[in-house]
Amino acid sequence: MREVTSADAKGEPGAPSYPGARTPDRLRSVDSFGLRLAVYEWGETGAPVILLAHGGFDFARTFDVFAPLLAAAGYRVVSWDHRGHGDSAHAALYSWEADVRDALLVLESTTREPVHLIGHSKGGAVLTQLALTMPHRVRRLVSIDGMPSRRAHPDVADHERTRLLAEDLAGWLDHRRRAAHLVRKPGTLDDLARRRGRMNPRLPLEWLRYLVTLGARRDPDGWRWKIDPALRFGGFGPFRPEWHLERLPGLAAPLLGLLGGQQEPMGWDTTPEVLRPHLPPGARVERFEDAGHFIHIEQPEPVTKLVLEFLS
């Protein structure tokens, strides 16, 4: 493990900063069967552990405001870049199972004691699966808009469904055909921030600019997101969101689910009404009416307060 030096934290001259954002205290890596995962820690090494998981197409440094708030309350907050994301290695293959396995290896590299889990979006769903798989290693679970409930295709006529699937499939396979040669489009720091803003329309431009300096690298022809260009939004497969919901009642760890009240492109649009029949005993669901998908980024203080109450 490497302590972060002042040189790491200083960044480039004129690099954007963001109010409340703090560079991780320690950087290290975990070897997932030959694939290097970048791991970040905030807080004292002897403190109780929170394992914190980001969502798809995000990276751990999107927790630069939220994680220090948790660490300041006396936790060792450990997060990692999912394979192909942020500073982790680009993998040849990506799957749900592989992400769950990577999560377990990061946990294993941290402690054998039970830990708290907090996941956002896909990270919430990954950690929920980890909690169901390894109940003995989990104290409490917080899922931030990470409980899926919507189907890719709402009910449509059968022939229409076939056409929709055909477009998905051909688009995905065409992408695979090109994937060996894909590179991300370069741009100025502001270009990248604005592009990300299309998927994160509720987040301030200053925050998005800050993310570019962490989630992108500066090549001679401009900034490029580090995320593997082989990864692609959408996709298809046999997965059904309701399978996730059907498992929730069996969770042993106390659950806090946070939902945003405002729809936006990356949101999962799950409502408390949809969740209610599936909640395990004692679970609590809180809806932030004025927030979208990135509740912990839009409202870090209220989310931290709620989470800390729940964990204590």
């Binding site: 030959g34 293959l93 592989a98 980890l130 499939l169 051909a170 396979l173």
Partner: protein
Amino acid sequence: MRLQHAKVELALHALRKGSGRPLLLLHGLGERSPDAVPESASPWPGPVFALDFTGHGRSSVPASGGYTAEILMGDADAALTQLEAATLLGRGLGAYVALLLAGARPRQVRGAILCDGPGLAGGGDRPGTPHVALPAPGSSPPDPFVLVELARDVRPPDYATSFVRQANQLAGLPHPVCVCARERPDWLRAVVAEPGVESAPLPEALALYADES
């Protein structure tokens, strides 16, 4: 012949040269392409090719797993790009992949023949108890990860039949899928029940698509 599928290099073997539409063999879970045209496929009148899936045979073995049947469909699509059009003959897992590709590339796949073989069943119609897939000890190829990850991937019957329906609607063949397999997991039983799906022994299946022009 080497093909590139994203970061993976695939081996496509020409088992028999010739003219006409090729037959593309897709092996089962943990298997590899045969060295010569298997006797059962020898009645095929045209050229015969065989693909090693990612992590199998002479294709590259990536680090750290992450296999899905859909990724292997991408492997088979890379071979299809090379061959332009083909009839698919899949064993086990390769049969499931052949079905997926028949639905995904209905104009290039001129019939998919689904045979018994390792990995035909998959993990059932819905997920079992959640688990973390860790590789069994063993040297690769085959990649120990593929043996564990594609031994229990979920194959809902209505997911499988959506590929049949797509082939039916877009392939322009009277029988875009022919099932030879005697093992009938739920997904395959549902496939067999769809219109346009033929059930026949392999010689008849080969004849069905050999005659199609």
